[in-house]
């Protein structure tokens, strides 16, 4: 079965540092997403990306965050000047088209800010 792959699986960073989380969506998918899950809590939407631009973002996705698709395969989430409360699991997801298709999630990147 096709899968969404994410790297790194776990990253520890010092407060104030920048991190880049990487995702390779499923190859023919058109819509890409980042979600996060703080330990023990529900999954929260961050941003959606279509046609090389952000299509929607949540209140969480402020100027500290950015996304880009630098080439035809990778989809990255950059977090500038990390804070302790950014510690979470970050999931990338993709879907071919959003009318009723399965949205596939990657294995996640655990980010620990110390």
């Amino acid at each position: 079965e096709p899968e969404v792959t994410q790297t790194p699986s776990h990253q520890v960073t010092q407060m104030g540092q920048e991190v880049i989380l990487r995702c390779v969506p499923i190859s023919n998918h058109l819509y890409f997403y980042w979600y996060r899950q703080i330990l023990g809590q529900k999954v929260e939407f961050l941003v959606s990306f279509y046609n090389n631009e952000i299509s929607e973002k949540s209140e969480i996705f402020d100027d500290q965050f950015s996304v880009e698709r630098p080439d035809g395969s990778n989809f990255t989430l950059k977090i500038r000047s990390t804070k302790l409360e950014d510690s979470a699991m970050y999931f990338c997801a993709s879907v071919y088209g959003y009318s009723g298709n399965t949205i596939y999630f990657g294995e996640g990147s655990w980010l620990t800010v110390v």
Partner: protein, 112 residues
């Protein structure tokens, strides 16, 4: 603002028993998803429900959707230990884009 509520949040049941997890949402939805998550792992898609009255079954799990009541159920039949996980429902409202809004999750423990 769309709200998605699941209950129960914690469910401990014996093997062989049946139970239902409920997912209520606050506004008209276009699609409803059920996901399974094992501890520290990703979200595994279980079902996508698109229309009122939709019912889907896979093994011991059956999901249904009542769009008029804004309610979906995930029914577990004759539970086995391997079903122990956290189950999330998630709703899409297309007038709000394609984002998934998740419920809090139901942590299911199936005891031998």
């Amino acid at each position: 603002e769309l709200k998605v509520e699941q209950n129960p949040l914690f469910l401990s049941m014996q093997e062989g028993k049946n139970y239902t997890i409920y997912c209520n949402y606050s506004t008209t939805s276009d699609r409803l998803y059920w996901y399974r998550q094992d501890p520290g792992k990703s979200l595994e898609s279980l079902f996508v429900l698109l229309s009122n009255g939709a019912v889907k079954q896979e093994g011991r799990l059956m999901a249904s959707l009542d769009t008029k009541a804004r309610l979906s159920t995930l029914h577990i039949t004759a539970a086995v230990h391997d079903l122990s996980a956290t189950y999330f429902c998630a709703v899409v409202v297309e007038t709000s884009g394609s984002r998934l809004t998740f419920g809090e999750g139901t942590q299911l423990t199936v005891n031998p």
